[in-house]
């Protein structure tokens, strides 16, 4: 079979037969897929190709920008006034808490110095807007309007006013891609605020979170607040993440713990990209001769 359905006469050579070419292309695609999904080898290729696609993407984002700005323009005056009043109230209460926080921070630093403990880590942050949901329908990701030029790095945590939203997974020059906590391949190390029990929180892909690998007799109750533990060396410790909504201890070894994210993961617009200024030293290599 030739390209258009007839056997090729030998005087009109068109190179490889379609089936051969199909097999070659499919083989290349499969290699690419494995290299990307399994080993993440292709970030270099991706960055190189994105130089080509970037102008087109910028042009294509214009209509979306226009719709966003237009809807903002037509927000009524009353709405804005109400929101302003609410923000002023919020500002007052948070301002008062911030005053006390500064005092406590100083006190904490002094006490730590007295005890000879290392200081708490420094934190850097970048404010960003969520532009739109990433078009890939198989993952829960959003695009931020800040990128490498503004100091965003892969791995930083993204939070809104209530808690952790997700983690930066890919950085472009002026944009970055955030994987939301609810994505199935996203996980975050947490600890229970009440007693410090540690665990890892996984997205389920249905808007919920699940804490896995916690023993059935661990001290976790419904209503417990989960915060980042910072043990991964990437997240800033102490950021609120989720509330426990259901604990099921009927299975054998591990409890089934359902959690509800605190942040407005699907609706928040303004977020803060937050991360450590210095990373802890890498863990010692595991002993080879065991």
């Amino acid at each position: 079979m030739s390209l258009v359905g007839h056997k090729t006469p030998p005087i009109f050579k068109r190179g490889l037969t379609p089936v051969t070419r199909l097999s070659v292309f499919v083989a290349i695609c499969l290699v690419l897929l494995v290299a990307d999904l399994r080993f993440r080898y292709l970030e270099v290729v991706r960055n190189a190709l994105s130089v080509v696609t970037y102008p087109l993407q910028m042009a294509a984002a214009k209509p979306a920008d226009f719709v966003r700005n237009a809807s903002r323009y037509f927000a009524t005056l009353v709405e804005v006034q109400l929101e302003n009043a609410e923000l002023r109230r919020d500002h007052l209460t948070t301002g008062e808490r911030l005053l006390r926080f500064e005092l406590l921070e100083k006190e904490n630093a002094q006490l730590r110095e007295l005890l000879g403990m290392s200081q708490r880590i420094d934190v850097k942050s970048v404010a960003a807007d969520i532009l739109y949901n990433a078009p890939d329908p198989f993952a829960r990701k959003v695009i931020l309007d800040r990128g490498a030029q503004q100091g965003v790095e892969a791995g930083l945590a993204v939070i809104d006013a209530k808690g952790v939203v997700g983690q930066v997974t890919r950085v472009h020059p002026v944009q970055s891609e955030v994987t939301l906590l609810t994505d199935r391949n996203q996980s975050i190390p947490v600890s229970v605020l009440r007693n410090g029990v540690r665990g890892v929180l996984f997205g389920t892909g249905r808007g919920r979170l699940e804490m896995r690998f916690v023993l059935a007799d661990a001290d976790i109750r419904e209503g417990d607040r989960l915060v980042t533990s910072g043990l991964d060396g990437i997240f800033v410790p102490g950021l609120p993440v989720a509330d426990v909504t259901m604990v099921d201890r009927s299975s054998d070894a591990f409890a089934r713990i359902d959690c509800e994210p605190l942040a407005d993961i699907d609706t928040s617009v303004q977020v803060l990209v937050i991360g450590r200024t210095a990373y802890p030293p890498p863990p010692p290599a595991p002993d080879q001769e065991r």
Partner: protein, 173 residues
Amino acid sequence: MQPTNRSSRILLPVKLWFVYLSLIVALGLEYIPTGRTPGIPDWVALVLAIWCVREPQRIGMGAGFVLGLLVDVGQGAAMGQHALAYVVLAYLANGAARRVMWFPLLQQALHFLPLFVLTQALMLAVRLLAGAEFPGWSYFLSSLSSTALWAPLSMLLLLPQYQPVDRDDNRPI
């Protein structure tokens, strides 16, 4: 070449730059951030399939592969996901070109509904194997809207070939 094989109208030969331009415009449409809205047509697959039927000698698996990679990069999808789907689509469209040209545009569209569904099913299979979540059945609405756009878009893309070089009312071109 005729609009369809049964038509007596003879078209001008296609300009290759117009083919590439239309593919690039389709790529731009594909990049418009529509989020998780279901039923957005797959512009690149649609335009690629149209040219695979119209110009099977020039547009085929190679074009599908390159466009697929560009869509993968632009959408942040897995590298090779769209490329694989578009290569298979181009192969099948090239193979169907001779037969499909005997049908009017609406029936051509019907021929391509299963191909678009297959394209999407391939991408779904690749991502599900890699452990992604199932996006819901509304994901396949995109095939339906692509199919619905087949006839209007085909006519639009053929418009330049309807223009005669110099006007003569007694000539079929």
